[in-house]
């Protein structure tokens, strides 16, 4: 953002501020030091207080609760690492990790190529590029409840548009949220997020200096070769951001759309790790166990993000 022009009342004082005059500035005066020393804390305290009381302290409480057995009715009982030991023996836990990884991989392979392809087309598009971007981005601004309810209507086996249209071709009712629940979920969330990733990749593409393309074209490379040899390697940074967001999202905020659309069902078919965590607390009243899951979740995210960043950063490309 560009700062506004300097107001006229101040402009006349500006030339005074040459290095030679620095010693004359009021803050160096005797007494103003003591005054200034507590002022910064006045500025940061309100935010820090809220952050501490409603983010940091809960995080510490969560860590504490994870070492207890607690049903929220009786007082918590300290059981050490009991929850974590039970967790790593729970087949449902491994199952939900598997589902989460599947969800993350499916999201990556559907959204990234689509976002790249659309960004590539838009980078070539002269007319209406902004309008197309705005249209592709719309699903992103809907609340995940709205998206979930909307797609549960779309997926209705009798009145939903896909069912009706397929019905015209004699394809019987498809149980979208039954047998194909995970795929349907991935499709719905791809509809929400592809526009965001497309805008991100497009920003990365427009940041690539055009001279690189000129020289590539002189070498008579085909446009497909140019894309894979020039564009893609230079999109490293935006591709990294998209990948990190999708993978960490699968382990955290994927809960919103999943909860509204499938509640993790049928049975455990779409029980992503955050859903597993939520159900442990609010369906089974195992708050300690659930907290242990959330601790493991945060560690997973940190490790996965670390691996992704390392993988993308193996070789640096200078241009």
């Amino acid at each position: 953002m560009d700062p506004k022009p300097i107001p006229p009342m101040l402009r006349k004082t500006l030339p005074i501020n040459t290095p030679a005059d620095r010693s004359e500035r009021p803050r160096r005066k005797v007494g103003s030091y003591a005054y200034r020393r507590w002022i910064p804390y006045l500025f940061i305290t309100p935010g820090l207080a809220v952050l501490f009381l409603f983010y940091i302290l809960p995080a510490i409480v969560g860590l504490g609760v994870s070492f207890t057995r607690w049903d929220a009715l009786r007082p918590p009982v300290f059981i050490g690492l009991g929850n974590f030991i039970a967790l790593f023996q729970d087949p449902n836990f491994y199952h939900s990790i598997l589902v989460t990884v599947e969800y993350a991989v499916l999201s990556l392979v559907t959204q990234l190529p689509l976002a790249l392809f659309l960004a590539y087309l838009l980078s070539q598009q002269k007319r209406g590029s902004k309008v197309f971007q705005a249209v592709f981005f719309i699903p992103q601004i809907l609340s995940l409840v709205a998206v979930g309810v909307l797609w549960s209507l779309l997926y209705d086996p009798f009145n939903g548009p896909p069912a009706r249209i397929l019905g015209l071709f004699g394809v019987g009712p498809i149980d979208w949220l039954g047998k194909y629940a995970l795929l349907s979920l991935v499709l719905a969330s791809a509809w929400v997020y592809f526009g965001f990733h497309m805008v991100l990749q497009l920003a990365g593409m427009t940041a690539i200096p055009s001279e690189l393309y000129d020289s590539a074209r002189l070498d008579t490379a085909s446009s497909l070769q140019v894309f894979f040899r020039v564009t893609l390697p230079l999109l490293r940074e935006t591709l990294l951001i998209s990948t990190v967001l999708m993978v960490s999202g699968a382990f955290s905020y994927s809960i919103g759309i999943t909860w509204v659309l499938t509640r993790g069902g049928p049975l455990h078919a779409t029980e992503l790790l955050p859903i597993f965590m939520y159900k442990a607390a609010f369906s089974n009243h195992q708050f300690g166990y659930s907290s242990a899951v959330s601790i493991v979740m945060v560690i997973f995210i940190a490790v996965l993000v670390g691996i992704i960043v390392w993988w993308f950063g193996r070789e640096r490309i200078e241009y």
Binding site: L53, P58, Q124, V135, S143, A146, T206, S210, L245, P274
Partner: protein, 287 residues
């Protein structure tokens, strides 16, 4: 360089390839927008029209579902709750983040780096992992079941991003401005309030829009930390409606539309803000 310069595959507009590209983009736009369009047609039908013809255009469009919702005291209550919670938390976020962002951008003090670290770290802990501990702490603070139990966590969850954005805006203002304000006899508070803050108005608006949409759409905290129906926000209200209304899809469609209206309006007027923050991967990750 603009997007227009990037004709690196050698095609110019006017070739067939350009037309195919435009055609493809139009088709894909239609596919993208179709679910929302269909929902609008559903909301404009009455129940009988919908059952007879779920896919077609509404032949006799009616606003009956919207009227029914807007006269439903429960829905109005949800709407009021959503507005109250979102507006108050955004206002508080503006105040807290501009104060902290200013101090972190323009002041030197002991512990500054630690505070920066704290802000960064909290951004890496997803809000969903804090649902249970938030429930515990909110009860501990004796604010369970009040608006504060939603507003304060919303402030805390948006604060990291908002503060870092504001800090960036303040850092882009030339140093001379602050020095001259001090020379003119402003004390630190006046310099902040009268000189520095007006400089970042448009940046603050961006932060406000992003924070408003995140809080307006938030679901899980609102679902968990609210213990009675009178406190439901729109997302929670609608998620319960969807099981309550059952087959009354027109009513459900209208409810989804009404709940999306504020964000949709913001999007129509400020779509550049959304694109810019998305191209810097800021803003909507937390939901």
């Amino acid at each position: 360089m603009t997007a227009q310069d990037m004709t690196f595959n050698g095609t110019r507009s006017g070739s067939n390839k350009g037309y195919f590209r435009t055609l493809f983009l139009i088709v894909f736009s239609v596919v993208t927008i179709y679910p929302i369009f269909w929902l609008a047609t559903v909301a404009l039908k009455d129940n009988r029209q919908f059952v007879q013809n779920p896919l077609g255009l509404p032949l006799h469009p009616t606003l009956e579902s919207f009227r029914a919702l807007l006269t439903d005291p429960a829905m109005l209550r949800y709407g009021f709750n959503s507005i109250l919670v979102s507006v108050v938390s955004v206002l508080a976020l503006m105040v807290f983040s501009s104060l902290a962002g200013y101090a972190l951008a323009r002041m030197d003090f002991r512990g500054k780096n630690i505070i920066l670290m704290i802000y960064l770290t909290t951004q890496w802990i997803p809000l969903v992992t804090l649902i249970i501990p938030l429930l515990v702490t909110v009860q501990l603070y004796k604010i369970y079941g009040t608006y504060a139990s939603l507003i304060l966590p919303y402030i805390a969850s948006g604060l990291g991003l908002a503060t870092f954005m504001v800090r960036g805006f303040f850092r882009s203002i030339p140093h001379e401005l602050l020095d001259s304000a001090r020379l003119d006899g402003c004390n630190e508070l006046q310099a902040f309030y009268k000189v520095m803050l007006p400089q970042i108005q448009s940046g603050l608006a961006v932060v406000a829009i992003i924070m408003f949409i995140n809080n307006w759409n938030e679901y899980f905290i609102a679902l968990t930390l609210v213990n009675r129906e009178a406190m439901y926000t729109l997302p929670v209200g609608i998620s319960t409606l969807s099981s309550m209304f059952g087959t009354d899809w027109p009513r459900l469609g209208a409810a989804l539309f009404l709940s999306t209206l504020p964000t949709l309006l913001l999007y129509i007027f400020f779509s550049d803000v959304f694109m810019n923050s998305a191209s810097r991967s800021v803003g909507f990750g937390g939901r």
